[in-house]
Amino acid sequence: MGAVVDMDAALFAGLCRLGDSTLVLGHRVSEWCGHAPVLEEDIALANTALDLIGQTQMWLGLAGEMEGKARNADALAFHRDVWEFRNLLLVERPNGDFGHTLMRQFLFDAWHQPMLTGLAQSRDARVAEIAAKAGKEVAYHLERSADLVIRLGDGSDESHARMQVALDTLWPYTGEMMTPDATDTALADAGIMPDLVGLQATWDGLVRDVLAEATLAIPDGGFMHKGGKQGQHSEHLGHMLATMQFLPRAYPDATW
């Protein structure tokens, strides 16, 4: 039985998945401000967060526009509750130590970059345009995160051990990125978004190469968490939103 998918709803969901993932990751990364291990990382983390927030403005802006209910990017970011968020579970994982933050970034970048390359070919010109812009930034994110994963994986005993723990902890949150549901399939069939199953091979290749050079072992066992894309999140997201949404929620009649 093929699910009947409302294409407008699918596109709205698809755009929220992209925009919510960049928003939530951008927020997480911004939590590092002033606390990074070296000054260069303070700068790089702020820059990454800045790119991701800029992409959020574009994705959620388009989502609101095509929804046609007078919700702009801010309304979507600050006035939805957890069940309406469509971000990947991976990006809401807490920062942990720098190794966790870095590994989370790399595992996401390795998906995000080919995803944007695919999106840049979208039949929807607005989607393609945003993806082309974001793609340049994310190519750099991936270059940077992959390089650091290699350097810290193949660094000291301690940095190696910490990167391995980070990989083991985060690995079960990666499956969701490449597992399509009805929405993903409908968008792929319509030529609006790339086929996630097709992305798997690219992601696998990239991740395997980098982790091998980093002397890190890919965890055994195929268990993967899922639910973020459908609005079923971990406890962490609610706390993030409580912080992020505090001002617009506390002062609904204010403009900023």
Binding site: S30, V38, L39, D42, Q57, D97, L152, S156, T243
Partner: protein, 325 residues
Amino acid sequence: MYAQMVKSEATQDDPEALAAFQARIDAGEKIEPKEWMPEGYRKTLIRQIGQHAHSEIVGQLPEGNWITRAPTLERKAILLAKVQDEAGHGLYLYCAAETLGVSRDELTEALLAGKMKYSSIFNYPTLTWADIGAVGWLVDGAAIMNQVPLQRTSFGPYSRAMIRICKEESFHQRQGFDIMRKMANGTKAQRHMAQDALNRFWYPSLMMFGPSDKDSVHSAQSMAWKIKMNTNDELRQKFVDQTVPQAEYLGLTVPDPDLRWNAEKGGYDFSEPDWTEFFEVLKGNGPCNAERLAARQKAWDDGAWVRDGLMAHAAKQRSAPIAAE
């Protein structure tokens, strides 16, 4: 305060060399790192540049306190860009200090050991979103006052760092003023937050220029060396004269009942900040000193394995080609 630390460095340098050095400075020449300089000049610069660098770094914390709570995506992006700039300023300045023979790690350790200071202003809390406006408007505003003349300072690397930094600072002040404008023209609660932020940041901002010149023993030497371009009081006066009309434009009240335009001097008369409070804050007794230093200490300690890991990797890379032969 800093004066006491410098006095003892009254150098035993050769008087002829000193005179030649002073002549170069008087002629407006730039002093470059490899060139001869008096020990006092070097030490004063290390302290001043290092302290400035530390201020940029610690200064990330009060603003970082609101990055996660910025009320719109645009505000979040702007604040991120600003704080990223500040970290970049820290980097330029540490590099300038390094040319004088002191490493970034040494300076950081001196900061964490309490042997070096950072601007007292960052020991005040940011309690509401309006404080982020006040910090940009007043604190970056005061920083610009201090830094613009330093573009002409005698030490080449410091001067060049200041030129780069000043280019970015005016954006910082504008974004702060823009937040204040929104708040001051907003709801009753927003107007309250705006006035409250001005009330709390006004005097600490005036303190940013340092104590009155009457109490600053080494000012004269620093000015002769063009490490310091204006007196503290001159800059403070300039800041007040620039800021009071801006507060009026915002419809906010500067928390100083004795603030008056003085037509004769062509500037405002204003109340001095509480210098006892200033010296207490410098001693570590400000509202946030403990948190600020603890945050920097934690970043340093937690980051040790990262820095070590990167070094270990670099060492492997260096030895790799040899091993392969």
